[in-house]
Amino acid sequence: MNLRVAGREYISFSSVYLVLHLFLSFVCAKNAHNMNIPILFRTYESHETHPECKIWEAARATSATPMFFKRIEIGRAQPFIDGGVGRNNPSWVVLDEANSLFGARPIGCLVSIGTGKVEAVSIRRPSFFQQIIPTDVIEALKAIATDCEDTHEHMLRLFAQLPTTYFRLNVEQGMERIKLSKWERLSKVEAHTAQYLRRKEVDKKLVLLGKIVAAPKARLTIEQLGMYNPHFQSGNGSSLLQCPLGPWNRSSTGWNASTVRHLWPPL
């Protein structure tokens, strides 16, 4: 995902990285003791820096997908696992981070790159798979796929009135039968990706994206963006409670108001 914030600051975010032309980046993980809030391991100073964290530790933490690898302890025996559900498409995390870094500057563009669409329906019934992989892995993969697309839908709504600001690239077909650990199928991943990139609408999107990255038309700050969308300004503060913001604080009753306000202060 690339996020371009007005002027010359260039943020690029590939899967789990946020980068400026200054090379600012982070990866997401979760503290197994507190799964609600994503932990960001950043390459730059911030109020929440992990000063002793090594590159390999951060990479290891964000790769610690439950059921694939065991958790890793960093710092004072804090156990970390992969960002997981709610963080597989980290667009909200990027916007929040960009807002705290460059809140006053307008956003140029946000590019989100997916790892392939997995249609829930294409995942075969557990009975077939049970002998090979446990049902909970299938459930986890479904949740990840749904989670990524949900976030994408929210982004589309958020950026509805700024059509040349949000871009999502995601291979739409063929990836659903490729399991996370099937390294021998990488050539297929490559083939599906090439096919996706050849599609006319994708090609047009890439050309447009190239132009926007080269010369962003920054018009609104991230905070204004939240207010700009009619979905977010339909009156009183209670409407904000229904906003799909800060998915990590989702509860059975809706969205946590404090997180929403932290991200997008109401008028």
Binding site: T49, C53, A58, S181
Partner: protein, 71 residues
């Protein structure tokens, strides 16, 4: 890889190919806490970091140098 290690895309893909083969080729015989060996993953990551920075224990944080102007 692309950012902290400043790899170009082709180099990153090359390293990724090697890494996933190392890590996913041999699932644990007795899957306990995860299907694959975290030690293999750690070794693969460290080897890449060492390749690029010369030190497998390089810190994630880039002090000051990343906040200055880079041309």
């Amino acid at each position: 890889m692309l950012e902290r290690l400043r790899m170009d895309v082709f180099t990153a893909i090359k390293h990724y190919d090697t890494m996933v083969k190392d890590v996913f080729s041999h699932p644990k015989k007795r899957p306990g806490d995860g299907k694959f060996k975290a030690t293999k993953l750690e070794a693969a990551i460290k080897s890449i970091v060492k390749d690029v920075t010369g030190n497998s224990e390089s810190p994630l944080l880039e002090r000051n140098e990343s906040t200055g102007c880079r041309t």
